[in-house]
Amino acid sequence: MPKVLVIEDDSLIVRLYQKVFSFEGYDFVSANGGEEGLVKAESEKPDVILLDIMMPKMDGLVVLEKLKANQNTKNTPVVILTNLIDDSVCTKALSMGASGYLVKSELPNHQIVEEVKRFLPAQK
């Protein structure tokens, strides 16, 4: 069962994606904020990480940088998941090693799952 880690401070979104991914048959893990996200990225060994940008204390770009700097997490695909519309952030994230970029409000639930599937290793 593929495991998805969502790093997101907004519980509304966390609960929504928990349901979406659970119904689609994914193992779902969430982290409230960047620091917890970094720990869980290492301990839970997810197949894909969904990372929010706007978070308190540590923003998503910093988390991305740390994930890519860590030998244990640098190969895990990271998809930026945000509602920011600033294109420059998107460009920056991709240059830092993000695998994709999704705008939450622009995608219906099933499309998110479709997108995440693209970054997963071949189905076991």
Binding site: L16, F23, N83, L84, I85, S105, E106, P108, N109
Partner: protein, 722 residues
């Protein structure tokens, strides 16, 4: 220097030159001439002396010949009669009357037959004289070689006892018809008595100087006399010495005759010169003094008076005053001319005063106007919100307004560029930029200049002389406070971030959850209105997200935050894909869509694929929305360097009055903004589409529209020409 002093100086200088000239003539030229005259006088005197000296010798020769041509003497040679000796030479009378000192008679063989010496001469001298003379009279000697043919010989002879006048004559009978049988020699000592005789005759004081080897001076004169007859040497101012040489019978120089001669001519000349000079000086001085006084009285005094008259007129500034003038000399003429000049001056002064009054009125009038103009200008400048400084080319402030003082936090009042620069930081150096502006003759702009918590726009522009566009008269600095605009921009950006994140996140949750409900729980809901409500919530959330997205896109476009990814692509597949996506909406309204791309061969454009797609969706959606029956036609058209996409519908059309409002923000081409259709209700669609087209370097416009017949919109995009 006053005229008197100049005059005195000129007279003094002229006299000095005159007397200097005279002096030069008297000392250099005239004495030369006089010394020539003097030399001639001396020469004639000396010639006279020489002649007298020769005459004395001649006289002795005469006496000698008298005795020698006497029969008694002739007979004495043969008879040797003592009587002859006794009676003729025995008494002192012989010496006194003949003036002879020594007599020697020899026969033809040179044998001395008789000799006698003046007994008045002392014995020692007698012996030596006689001895030396006899040494000169021997057979073959010059003295003893006289005969009838040669005639008598006379001349001088030098002896150790002094010079002798000597003469010898051959003895013969009185008829001179027999051969000579002996020689008679007579001699006379050239003593003081003899010299006195010469002095008496010539009326000169002469001396005989014997030539001795030791006397160099005399030797030199003697040498000179070998070439000339006479030598003259000045001794003093009053006397000079003249020399002639004395030669013996062998023509040897044995002594000099020196005559002391008074320089009468010379002395007389100098006396004359002195008197002449004195007279000249006296008359010259008298003339100068006379001239000076005449000059003072006739010229200087009237001039001084004239000057004081002028001064008076000048001091009183009274042009009505006149100078009294009488007489007919030049000064009087000057006064009259000056009076005439005063007449004209008085007249012109009067007219000038009138004119001046007029001019000063005019000037004060114009000054008032200028002051008014300046006040208007200053009021205008001060009313400006922008800071305004007019600088001269050296950076000096000519005019600055109040706003400038406010913006730069400078106290109102006096200030300059340096003070202004202190308020600015180094990112904008006013002085350097001023130089750049003046040098390039071009304006300098700096935007977003942040200082003291303000954002300023600095605009520096050269100011040219209106009459000569090549001459710079300074520069204009306009400072605009754009802080508020910047704040607005920033809040807009902040709004964008917040809206995009904070607004869309809960909406995403609503939509996501209602979607989940509809998908996984709809079977559990038996109540039809409940299930309908969930559907409405879901539809509303989708619409709300769409509206928010439209706002965000608008803002992004306006702030320029949108990223445009230009690429070359064929437009036809993009249009086809959009048409595919609209199939459902078309079906719902029972509309047909036609797209025949074959008309255009090259449909490649250079633009952002996603943005173009968005515009196409928007326009096709609109066409479907406003068309109730009929069809949609999509055509392509080449238009210069553009590729046009024409989207036509058979809808309700847009009235003329509303056409110009069509692309405005929040406007839909309806009669009233309050009556609107509900599908995509922000009214931002066309506005966004037009902005995107403009950003892509293309255009969006309404080509034609007729009410109840339909409209044609055109998307015009840059072709890919490569």
């Amino acid at each position: 220097m006053s005229l008197s002093k100049k005059f005195l100086l000129i007279i003094f200088t002229l006299n000095l030159l005159f007397f200097g000239f005279l002096y030069l003539i008297f000392t250099l030229v005239v004495p030369e001439a006089f010394s020539k005259v003097e030399d001639e006088v001396v020469a004639s005197n000396l010639t006279g002396i020489k002649n007298v000296f020769l005459e004395r010798q001649n006289a002795l020769s005469d006496v000698t010949c008298d005795y020698a041509r006497w029969d008694d003497t002739y007979n004495f040679i043969t008879e040797k009669s003592p009587e002859y000796i006794r009676s003729n030479y025995g008494s002192i009378d012989f010496f006194n009357t003949t003036g002879t000192d020594i007599v020697i008679i020899t026969d033809i063989e040179g044998e001395t037959l008789f000799q006698t010496v003046n007994p008045n001469i002392n014995n020692a001298l007698q012996d030596s004289l006689l001895g030396e003379l006899r040494g000169s009279v021997y057979k073959g000697s010059k003295l003893n070689s006289v005969n009838m043919a040669t005639g008598p010989l006379y001349g001088m002879l030098s002896t150790s006892s002094g010079p002798l006048i000597i003469s010898s004559c051959s003895i013969t009978n009185s008829n001179a018809d027999v051969d000579s049988n002996g020689v008679l020699v007579m001699a006379k000592i050239l003593d003081e008595a003899e010299l006195d005789n010469i002095r008496k005759i010539t009326n000169t004081s002469i001396n005989y100087l014997e030539l001795q080897a030791t006397n160099v001076e005399l030797k030199k004169i003697a040498t000179d006399l070998q070439n000339t007859n006479i030598s003259v040497t000045p001794i003093s101012k009053s006397t000079l010495s003249g020399y002639v040489d004395v030669r013996d019978i062998n023509d040897r120089q044995i002594g000099l005759l020196r005559a002391q001669i008074d320089r009468k001519v010379y002395l007389g000349f100098y006396e004359f010169i002195n008197k002449l000079l004195f007279l000249l000086i006296v008359t010259q001085s008298a003339t100068a003094v006379g001239l000076f006084f005449f000059y003072r009285v006739q010229i200087i005094s009237p001039l001084k008076k004239l000057i004081s008259n002028f001064e008076e007129i000048r001091e009183k500034k009274d042009l009505t005053l006149r100078i009294r003038s009488h007489g007919f000399d030049e000064i009087s003429s000057l006064k009259r001319v000056f009076n005439k000049m005063l007449d004209s001056l008085e007249l012109s002064d009067l007219s000038l005063r009138h004119e001046k009054e007029g001019v000063s009125k005019q000037v004060s009038l114009q000054t008032n106007e200028l002051v008014l103009e300046r006040a208007k200008l200053m009021a205008s400048i001060n009313a400006m919100i922008n800071g305004f400084i007019l600088l001269d080319p050296h950076g000096k402030v000519i005019v600055a307004n109040l706003a400038m003082a406010d913006i730069l936090n400078i106290d109102r009042g006096e200030w300059d560029v340096r003070r202004a620069q202190k308020q600015l930081n180094e990112t904008f150096d006013l002085w350097i930029n001023l130089q750049k502006c003046l040098l390039d003759k071009a304006s300098v702009t700096m935007d977003d200049y942040e200082i003291m918590g303000k954002f300023l726009n600095m605009y520096l522009s050269p100011v040219f002389d209106p009459s000569d566009k090549n001459v710079l008269i300074g520069a204009l600095l306009i400072v605009t406070d754009i802080t508020e605009r910047k704040m607005l921009d920033r809040s807009k950006e902040e709004f964008l971030s917040i809206a995009s994140h904070e607004l869309r996140t809960p909406l995403t949750a609503i939509r996501g959850n209602t979607e989940l409900l509809a998908k996984f729980y709809i079977g559990k809901i038996k109540d039809a209105p409940f299930s309908e409500m969930i559907g409405d919530i879901h539809a509303s959330s989708i619409r709300l997200i769409q509206i928010v997205n439209d706002f965000l896109t608008t803002s992004k476009l306006e702030v320029g935050k949108i990223n445009i990814m230009r690429e070359r692509f064929n437009l036809i597949p993009v249009i086809n894909s959009v048409i595919r996506d609209t199939t459902e909406a078309l079906k719902a309204k029972n509309l047909k869509i036609n797209f025949n791309p074959n008309e255009v061969v090259n449909a490649n454009v250079y633009a952002d694929r996603n943005l173009v797609r968005e515009v196409l969706i928007n326009l096709i959606d609109n066409a479907i929305k406003y068309t109730e029956k009929g069809e949609l036609n999509i055509k392509l058209r080449l238009n210069s360097v553009y590729l046009d996409v024409l989207i036509s519908d058979t809808g309700r059309g847009i009235p003329k009055d509303n056409q110009k409002l069509l692309f405005r923000k929040f406007q839909q081409a309806n009669d009233s903004i309050y009556t609107k259709d509900t599908y995509h209700g922000t009214g931002l669609g066309l506005y966004i589409s037009k902005m995107i087209c403009n950003k892509l370097g293309g255009r969006l416009f309404l080509e034609s529209s007729e009410v109840d017949k339909g409209s044609t919109f055109v998307i015009s995009l840059p072709q890919d020409l490569k």
